[in-house]
Symmetry: C2
Subunit: 321 residues, 2 copies
């Protein structure tokens, strides 16, 4: 069994090759730029770990892992356009550096290239892999759409938000693990359990991400801290603050959203702290993590095989940046 770090290293070696032709550079240079500015490669490594849970890692797991990472980067490039985000991983986003049209096309060819890696896998697995990959890809788009819809909506329920964030973030983590498991020949029950492990781990991870967007250290976070607040995103933190805020705090939240003052982020964070949103978020994060571990426990392989996935989950959730 390999650790996350070992697999990330091996994956990176295989991923850091040219994925695109040389010409036209106006289209492919932006793609190469974005793929080389890094990222933790969490999703492809989860595919490899999902594969190794059921046997030795096979070549096809790498092909699917690369497809997953290309798909993930495609969503980032397009999401950054929609969110008008200036930075990603502390670097200029593609649309900021090259313009919206290039970023749009750059994302498109990244998605097409992802399918070119899926094309390579053993015919035995190609249909179930395409089935889950396509379903997940559409769900991620649905999640992004709901996220944008919620920005314009007056009120969003906790359940609505949970559904959105499940689609936008968790299903890809869950599918990455399950795709590895499918290629590893796992049975349906184990495939579903590894998926549910990933889904709950993803929710725990997202709560932490919302937390870091609000309370994170700007020098470590890499993204623009306070971005969710600036864009009036209805995050786990924001929705909970609305639930527990006093009438005065609620009035101030409404005022901050409607008048959009220069010190909006600072003032919103003050309210969040006064409402103990930070502590609440940490508790919710732990609850989803516990649920995830329950699914992992139920997978019918020996405990030693699960050790690295357990360590990964703990690493992901306790990270400070």
């Amino acid at each position: 069994m390999h650790s996350f770090q070992e697999l990330a290293k091996e994956f990176t070696t295989r991923f850091e090759v040219p994925h695109f032709p040389k010409q036209p550079t106006s289209l492919y240079e932006p793609g190469n730029y974005f793929l080389t500015i890094g990222g933790k490669r969490i999703r492809p490594v989860m595919c490899l770990m999902g594969n190794e849970l059921f046997g030795d890692i096979c070549e096809d797991a790498y092909n699917v892992a690369i497809a997953i990472e290309l798909f993930h980067n495609f969503t980032l490039v397009h999401d950054d356009i929609m969110d008008a985000a200036p930075l990603r991983r502390g670097m200029e986003t593609v649309h900021t550096k090259y313009g919206n049209s290039v970023a749009l096309l750059c994302g498109d060819v990244m998605l097409i290239k992802a399918y070119d890696y899926i094309k390579k896998i053993n015919l035995e697995h190609i249909r179930p892999v395409l089935e889950l990959f396509n379903k997940t890809a559409a769900e991620v788009c649905e999640g992004q759409q709901l996220d944008m819809d919620f920005e314009k909506k007056q009120s969003v329920s906790f359940d609505e938000y949970l559904q959105m964030i499940t689609l936008k973030t968790s299903v890809l983590l869950a599918a990455s693990l399950k795709l590895g498991a499918i290629i590893g020949g796992a049975g349906e029950g184990n495939c579903n359990r590894i998926y549910d492990f990933g889904l709950n781990l993803g929710l725990s991870f997202q709560i932490q991400d919302d937390y870091l967007d609000a309370f994170g250290d700007p020098s470590k976070f890499g993204k623009d801290v306070g971005g969710d607040i600036r864009q009036n995103k209805k995050t786990f933190l924001f929705l909970h603050a609305l639930e527990v805020a006093t009438p005065e705090q609620k009035a101030e939240i409404d005022e901050l959203i409607s008048t959009n003052p220069a010190d909006k982020v600072e003032r919103m964070l003050e309210i969040f702290r006064a409402c103990n949103v930070d502590e609440w978020a940490n508790r919710l994060k732990e609850a989803y993590l516990a649920k995830a571990f329950k699914y992992l426990d139920d997978i019918a392989v020996t405990a030693t095989r699960k050790k690295e996935l357990t360590k990964l989950a703990e690493y992901l959730i306790q990270r400070q940046s």
Copy 2:
């Protein structure tokens, strides 16, 4: 053997079904809107005709034809964003009706859905189909990128333009035919000939498209006549006008581009007519059509099987709208 019209009717019946889930409507309603505003369904029918050239039409040809039409619509939705086009087929474009972000995601899910139809085909053909589909999809993106690059370039050579238009338009027509042929079990030689038939037919078609954008009847064309001129697109017509224009006409062309006056389209068309660009374009169109027919002749099936493709080519190139 079936006519284009018969196959278009049969395809339309199979295509006019819901391709997307109901929810979220904010994402999928725009996709359904765009897919139902019509289009001639030329590419999917070419896939069916490429298939029938080598035997009876099989179910997989329909799956690939639907994938092709979804892919084509994906490119239209995204191209319209990049070109800031207000109309398509005489109707509002997706980004005009629903906004840029929705149009971006709407295109993305259309592409993903295309791959969901490819997923269904017989495993025997899935890899060569994905291979050609992916190659072609990337090429179409490359063509769109070059098209945008050329808008900003001072001068573009005829060869550069030809390469761009081949990628942007012809490869998809060529690939549609060849995908049908692959599924029909055609050999490599015949597959390549049907591809080259489509490629040259596509160039002939594009010259006509450029012609109609400039000289077409607005009530029949469905698009915004003069759009290429307004956007300073370096079309076949424009590049040829530059080659044959007098110094006075060239100076006026330069002035029109740099000052962008309200009567730019009318004045550019006057120069085009004075340079006989319209007659020249018709001759070039015929030359590519003749080349296309030579490839069709060389395909090793009986002449009667080629009759409907011949009629289609003649219909496409002589159309007035």
